[in-house]
């Protein structure tokens, strides 16, 4: 059996809902097109498990990981979350090179590099899939399109007023339909009052909502890749995000979208998207950006080959 071209240490591999799990799985999949890949995850070493394409190797509990027998160390190691414990493991393994997506503790060895997923020409990116059928049919729960979509950063509660950003947008644009996705429920607001609620059961439901929105305001974008922003851009929906450093801000800047620090900037950003010509230009730019960086799996494999030094 050929030795692995890369070893992936997936501390968050099994936490499927996290962006770290999504990203490391996407990278491991791309790396597997270049050569064999070994995936190490926390857990009892006596219980190896199959997970789709990969046979997972367990490395013990997160607080005391052990390098598994039979897995060579003289290769490229990709870590999703670099912790003090994983750093100890890497230090003992002496890999050819070590790359990580995020670091929780630190500082760590300078020889270990961040693998950039977003921003700049050298970012390796990930593949963010979407279903194009979502563009064809709107969400069945609402009888309108061209709404302002707000992805909330909190868990909703019955009777609780919507996030402040929604209140500002609904007050500033009384004629606009504002749809808020919060805790797997989409609530439609217009003229400062609630008009109805529908559940968002599947990713396809979310994609439909993203695809038919006039603009998407993501109040709590993911810290690793801001996946929902990418999905919105792939459907040609401009994004508006809080003015905080992170991948979402990069997406907004690269796609011609907007960032806001206060209600005035938020209303100005939403107002710009109400003009067809401006919205159309931003929509096209966003779609081009998202397709080229996150929509082409073949390009991701090529970039991964460059990272791993594979021919």
């Amino acid at each position: 059996m050929k030795p692995p071209m890369a070893v992936v240490i997936g501390c968050r591999w099994l936490e499927r809902r996290t962006e770290l799990a999504f990203s490391i799985r996407s990278l491991a999949g791309a790396a597997s097109r270049c050569g064999p890949v070994a995936v190490l995850v926390p857990g009892d070493p006596k219980e190896p498990a199959a997970d789709g394409l990969f046979d997972l190797r367990r490395i013990g509990p997160p607080e005391a990981p052990q390098w598994p027998d039979g897995v060579p160390t003289d290769t490229t190691i990709i870590v999703d979350e670099l912790t003090a414990e994983v750093a100890g493991l890497l230090a003992s393994a002496q890999p050819l090179s070590a790359l990580f997506l995020s670091a929780r503790d630190g500082p760590f060895s300078r020889a270990w590099q961040t693998l950039r997923l977003v921003g700049g020409d050298e970012a390796v990116g990930v593949h963010v899939p979407v279903n194009r059928l979502a563009e064809r049919y709107r969400h069945h729960g609402f009888g309108f399109t061209d709404y302002v979509l707000v992805l909330s950063d909190r868990r909703g509660d019955v009777g609780e007023p919507p996030p402040p950003a929604v209140a500002w947008v609904s007050a500033g644009f009384p004629d606009a339909d504002v749809v808020v996705v919060e805790d797997a429920v989409a609530s439609a607001w217009k003229g400062r009052s609630l008009r109805g609620k529908v559940s968002v059961d599947t990713r396809m439901d979310l994609w439909r909502l993203l695809a038919h929105a006039n603009v998407c305001i993501d109040l709590g974008p993911g810290p690793i890749i801001a996946r929902e922003c990418i999905e919105a851009l792939r459907f040609g929906t401009p994004v508006v995000v809080p003015d905080r450093a992170g991948p979402a801000l990069v997406h907004a800047q690269e796609s011609g979208g907007s960032a806001f620090a206060d209600p005035d900037e938020l209303l100005a950003a939403v107002g710009r998207m109400q003009k067809d010509a401006a919205r159309s230009a931003v929509s096209d730019a966003g779609r081009r950006y998202a397709e080229s960086h996150f929509g082409d799996p073949t390009a991701l494999v090529t970039r991964m080959q460059a990272v791993l030094g594979a021919e």
């Binding site: 007023p161 007050a171 500033g172 400062r192 620090a261 209600p263 005035d264």
Partner: protein, 137 residues
């Protein structure tokens, strides 16, 4: 600076950034009230009244003939006329109410929007001012 010598506009500057309040019920203009004149009884009454002078007057007279006594017939005619006038007046009121509700909804929308934009701008100015003060300090 001592509170007593602070400028009055500082009171505005210290307002918390409270988001606009949402409404419990939609504030849209309700559907317009329909015309009484288009209701079946009034349409029927007007048809009979209009038939009277135009034709032989047989139908209204025939209807009124069932009522005994001249004074009763006069009263019936006056009642029909008054009903017709009230229906016309109700329709005019319904038109005015619809127009008034449309104006109210428009004004509420416009002022609500203007106030929200002004408040947002105020928040922005406050932040800018605070940033300038910090930079200057």
């Amino acid at each position: 600076m001592e509170p007593m010598v602070r400028d009055a506009q500082d009171a505005i500057a210290e307002m918390p950034e409270v988001a606009p309040r949402m409404l419990r019920q939609p504030a849209d203009a309700p559907p317009a009230v329909g015309h009484v004149g288009t209701s079946a009884p009034v349409v029927s009454l007007r048809r009979i009244l209009s038939d009277r002078p135009a034709g032989s007057g047989r139908s209204f007279r025939g209807w009124a003939a069932r009522v005994s006594g001249r004074s009763d017939r006069r009263l019936l005619l006056a009642l029909a006329g008054a009903t017709d006038a009230m229906a016309t007046h109700c329709d005019l009121l319904a038109d005015r109410l619809a127009a008034q509700e449309a104006v109210t909804a428009d004004v509420a929308d416009v002022y609500g929007k203007e106030i929200a934009l002004l408040r947002a701008e105020l928040v922005h100015l406050r932040r800018s001012e605070a940033a300038l003060r910090e930079a200057g300090a």
